[in-house]
Symmetry: C2
Subunit: 192 residues, 2 copies
């Protein structure tokens, strides 16, 4: 799939077919994409915590923030939760500040997931102290980002931001998730 | 091209065929990849400054840091410099802290460039105050990252980090650029 189609396909999904299994080799293939993605000065300070069992997934799920803009929804119900997680950690024994590295690797992983017909969500609003506690993540590692992964079970569409400028995503009466995107003309402040 | 091959192909390049032209529509197509890449809470705070003329490129180039690990090399010579730049800006009228957003968009753009047979380098070590001054970038925008783009004119290979653990890239006697990558086993701290 070309990048244009892959990026369009790689929406943030928050409802999944929870019974769909994502095996370890699929997760490791996604980590291989991060492995060969750039990091500042090639320091490669990111480490990865994988989870794909119902037991560990259930330990992670309660500590994640879901879709802040949907005020009447507290996250996916049992049965529509993610099948796997990749927690991106920063190894403080390598460096202390991870800059743009986690975003770069996260995007490689999510595009790789989209290519496999999977989808998910990058979650920055995790209760990191609770995650560290339940998973017993060593203090050496900063918790930077949680990637939730699964087989999407919702429809997500993009549309151009309206005249009111409102960029908040919403669900319509048919439960389709709409994501307003700013037009290109608004993004390019110096064109050529 | 599948993601595995595309990520492998998307090395950091620092020497180019400077006479190769990257036109505005190609640059805007790369911005379209960022446009549809995720941002925190879909706020879409990133803006983009494009440059592809010899005049503006020459204003940008002196203020970039190149390959800190190559002590005897101060960056590409005239003739092997980038053909274009995309400067990723953070619009402080939307939010003040841009988190993982610039890394996500930068990776979408660089993978899109690799797909076009282009290459480049994400440069965090730019003298941002000087860039702002020469380009007259309004204070509303934080300068987050500079993406240098061109037609690569060097060979870059990856290899597994040796027993000494040294991750510094280097050039060999045939001027090939070697990039040591940590093995997967070192990256995955909790496997499944």
């Amino acid at each position: 799939m070309n990048m244009k189609d892959l990026v369009r396909k790689s929406r943030s999904y928050r409802r999944f077919n929870q019974s769909y299994d994502i095996n370890g080799e699929a997760l490791r293939d996604l980590i291989r994409l991060a492995q060969y993605s750039p990091t500042g000065n090639n320091r490669q300070p990111l480490k990865f915590w994988l989870s794909n069992t119902p037991e560990m997934n259930a330990m992670i799920f309660p500590h994640l923030g879901w879709a802040g803009a949907l005020k009447d929804w507290n996250g996916p119900e049992e049965g529509e939760r993610p099948s796997a997680y990749i927690i991106i950690l920063g190894d403080t024994s390598i460096k202390k500040n991870f800059g743009v590295d986690p975003g770069i690797s996260a995007q490689s992983i999510m595009l790789g997931a989209a290519e496999l017909g999977l989808g998910g969500c990058m979650i920055g609003s995790a209760r990191k102290d609770r995650l560290r506690q339940v998973l017993d993540i060593p203090k050496q590692y900063d918790i930077l980002l949680v990637l939730a992964l699964g087989k999407p079970a919702e429809k997500v569409v993009t549309e151009t931001v309206g005249e009111d400028g409102d960029i908040r995503y919403y669900r319509d009466e048919e439960d389709v998730h709409h994501v307003p995107k700013r037009p290109l003309s608004e993004l390019v402040v110096h064109d050529v």
